[in-house]
C-alpha cells in the first residue's frame, strides 16, 4: 500500500489555512497608553536619594516622531521639588523583553529638580522602560508604547 503523501500534504495545508496565530491583540491606542498616571503619581522612586521622579509627556512620541518628557524630582516625603537634586541624571530607553534600547535621549536641566528629556523615540511598539540613573541611585518607569 502506497503511503498517501498527497493526503498528508493536503492535511498540512488545511491545518495551515484554519489555524489562528494571533491569540492576543492590543486594542489600546498609543495615546491612551503613553498618558500614564496622574500628575501627582510617582513614576519612579529613587529610594536611596529620597526622591520621587514624576514625569508627564510634553510631546508624546509616535512610531515616526520623537517625543519629549518633563521630569520633576520631588521629595518622597512631600510634593516639593528637590532643589539640590543631582544634575548628573542619566536617562536611557530600554526594551527589556528584546534586550535592546533605542536612540539616545538628551537630558536638559530646566531648573533645580526639573528636567526635559528630549529625543524620546521608541523604535518599536511594546513594553518599554525609561531608566533613570544618578551617581547614587537608579529607578525605572515601565510603560507600554
Amino acid at each position: 500500500m502506497k503511503f498517501p503523501f498527497h493526503t498528508l500534504v493536503f492535511l498540512l495545508l488545511a491545518i495551515s489555512l484554519v489555524s489562528c496565530a494571533k491569540p492576543l491583540a492590543d486594542s489600546t491606542d498609543s495615546e491612551t497608553r503613553t498618558e500614564g498616571k496622574s500628575q501627582n503619581a510617582c513614576k519612579a522612586s529613587l529610594k536611596t536619594d529620597g526622591v520621587c521622579l514624576d514625569a508627564i509627556w510634553e510631546t508624546y512620541p509616535t512610531e515616526t516622531t520623537v517625543g519629549s518628557l518633563l521630569v520633576f524630582a520631588r521629595s518622597l516625603n512631600s510634593d516639593h521639588l528637590v532643589k539640590d537634586f543631582s544634575t548628573d541624571l542619566r536617562v536611557t530607553l530600554w526594551m527589556p523583553s528584546m534586550g535592546h534600547g533605542s536612540s539616545p535621549v538628551k537630558v536638559v536641566p530646566l531648573q533645580p529638580g526639573m528636567f526635559r528629556i528630549e529625543k524620546v523615540f521608541f523604535i518599536m511598539r511594546g513594553d518599554w522602560e525609561v531608566r533613570f540613573q544618578t551617581p547614587t541611585d537608579r529607578a525605572t518607569w515601565a510603560l507600554d508604547f
Binding site: 503511503f3 503523501f5 498527497h6 498528508l8 500534504v9 498540512l12 495545508l13 495551515s16 489555524s19 496565530a21 494571533k22 491569540p23 492576543l24 491583540a25 492590543d26 509616535t62 512610531e63 515616526t64 527589556p96 523583553s97 528584546m98 534586550g99 535592546h100 533605542s102 536612540s103 523615540f121 523604535i123 518599536m124 511598539r125 511594546g126 513594553d127 540613573q133 551617581p135 547614587t136 537608579r138
Partner: protein, 327 residues
C-alpha cells in the same frame, strides 16, 4: 555494436537527466530552508541558513538568494501583537558556495548583505557569515523504499555583521548581525518517492560570549514537501513547508555607575513560519542540461501559524537561483 553504444549513451543520458531532475527537485525543497531559517532573530539581525547543503548528487552548489521581507507586527514576550504603522522593509542577498571535499564530506560558506528601510532611511550592511561542514551519514547508494538519505553537519555563524549593541543608526538599520559567534549541530533527512520529496531538518546551536552579550542556546526544526510537476510543465515543481524556531533567553551585561555591572535577562523567542513555493529547473526553450540552473520563488509568512513570542513578524518573498554541478 554501434546501436549498442547509442543505446548505452541514451541510457546514460537518461540517467544523468533523471539525476539532474531529481537533484533539481531536492534543491527546490531544500531552498525553503533559506527562507525559513533566515528569519533574522529577534528584532535585529541574526539567523542562520543551511540552504547551502548539498542533498542531491551535486559536486558543487552555487546559489544566490534574494529575500524581500516586510515586517508588519511586533509580538511581545507575553504574546501581545502590535501592528506597526511604520513598516520595515528588508532585502537580504545571500550567496551559497558549497563543494564536496570528498565523496561524503562537503564544505560551504554563505556570506550575506542586508538592506533595511524604515523611517525614510535606508542602510546596507554586511550580515553574518555561515560556515558549514557536512557529512553524508546515510547515503542512498542503493535503493531502499523507506530509508532516507541523511546528512549531518556542523555549522558556524561568524559575526561579520554589526549587532544592535554596535548600531549607530536609529531603528538599528545598520544592524544585520547577532553580534556573537555560534556553533550548531544539525541533521537533514530527505527521501524521494515517485514525484514526492520530503525533507526533515533539525538543528541546535549555542552562542559564544561577546560583551555585552552572553548568548544561550536555540533550535530550528523544519519539514517540507515537494511535488514534481514535470508531467504538466517540464522542470516545474511545487513545495510547501513549515519551520519552527526557538531561541532561549540570554543575558546582557549592563554597565552602571562607578564601573559596576549587572546582568539583564532577555526573554526567549519563538516563531513558526509556513512557506510555499515554485521552482523551475533549466532555461526555457534551451536544451536540458546535465548541470541545470534552478530558479525558485517562495513566499513565507510568520504571522499565520503558531504562538510567536518576543519577535517581529514578517512576510518574505524569496527569489533564488541555484547552479548545480553534478558529480
Amino acid at each position: 555494436m554501434g546501436l549498442g553504444f547509442l543505446t548505452a549513451a541514451a541510457a546514460v543520458t537518461a540517467a544523468v537527466t533523471a539525476t539532474a531532475r531529481h537533484a533539481a527537485v531536492v534543491s527546490a525543497a531544500t531552498f525553503l530552508f533559506g527562507v525559513e531559517f533566515a528569519f533574522a532573530g529577534a528584532c535585529c539581525g541574526g539567523g542562520s541558513s543551511v540552504a547551502g547543503v548539498i542533498l542531491g548528487d551535486e559536486k558543487y552548489l552555487l546559489g544566490l538568494d534574494l529575500d524581500s521581507k516586510t515586517i508588519t507586527t511586533d509580538v511581545s514576550a507575553k504574546g501581545v501583537w502590535r501592528d506597526r504603522l511604520e513598516l520595515e522593509e528588508q532585502q537580504t542577498l545571500k550567496l551559497h558556495l558549497t563543494s564536496l571535499i570528498s565523496d561524503r564530506f562537503q564544505l560551504g560558506v554563505s556570506p550575506s548583505l542586508v538592506k533595511k528601510h524604515r523611517y525614510g532611511d535606508t542602510d546596507t550592511s554586511l550580515g553574518d557569515t555561515s560556515l558549514l561542514l557536512a557529512y553524508e551519514a546515510l547515503p542512498d547508494w542503493d535503493y531502499h523504499p523507506i530509508r532516507p538519505r541523511g546528512t549531518v553537519y556542523v555549522s558556524a555563524s561568524i559575526p561579520t555583521g554589526k549587532s544592535v549593541y554596535d548600531s549607530q543608526s536609529t531603528g538599528f538599520l545598520d544592524a544585520a548581525g547577532k553580534g556573537y559567534a555560534s556553533l550548531g549541530l544539525g541533521a537533514i533527512f530527505n527521501k524521494t518517492i515517485s514525484k514526492w520529496t520530503a525533507i526533515f531538518s533539525t538543528e541546535a546551536h549555542h552562542g559564544f560570549d561577546k560583551s555585552p552579550i552572553r548568548p544561550s542556546w536555540g533550535y530550528t526544526t523544519s519539514l517540507s514537501f515537494s511535488y514534481d510537476l514535470a508531467s504538466w510543465i517540464k522542470g516545474l515543481s511545487v513545495q510547501t513547508g513549515l519551520s519552527h524556531t526557538y531561541q532561549n533567553g540570554f543575558h546582557l551585561e549592563q554597565s552602571q555607575f562607578e564601573g559596576n555591572q549587572s546582568l539583564e535577562t532577555v526573554d526567549a523567542l519563538q516563531v513558526t513560519a509556513p512557506s510555499i513555493g515554485l521552482s523551475y529547473s533549466g532555461i526555457p526553450f534551451l536544451p536540458e542540461s546535465e548541470d541545470p540552473l534552478v530558479f525558485h520563488l517562495t513566499y513565507s509568512d510568520q504571522s499565520l501559524l503558531g504562538m510567536p513570542l518576543n519577535t517581529p513578524l514578517g512576510k518574505t518573498l524569496t527569489l533564488g537561483i541555484r547552479k548545480q554541478i553534478l558529480r
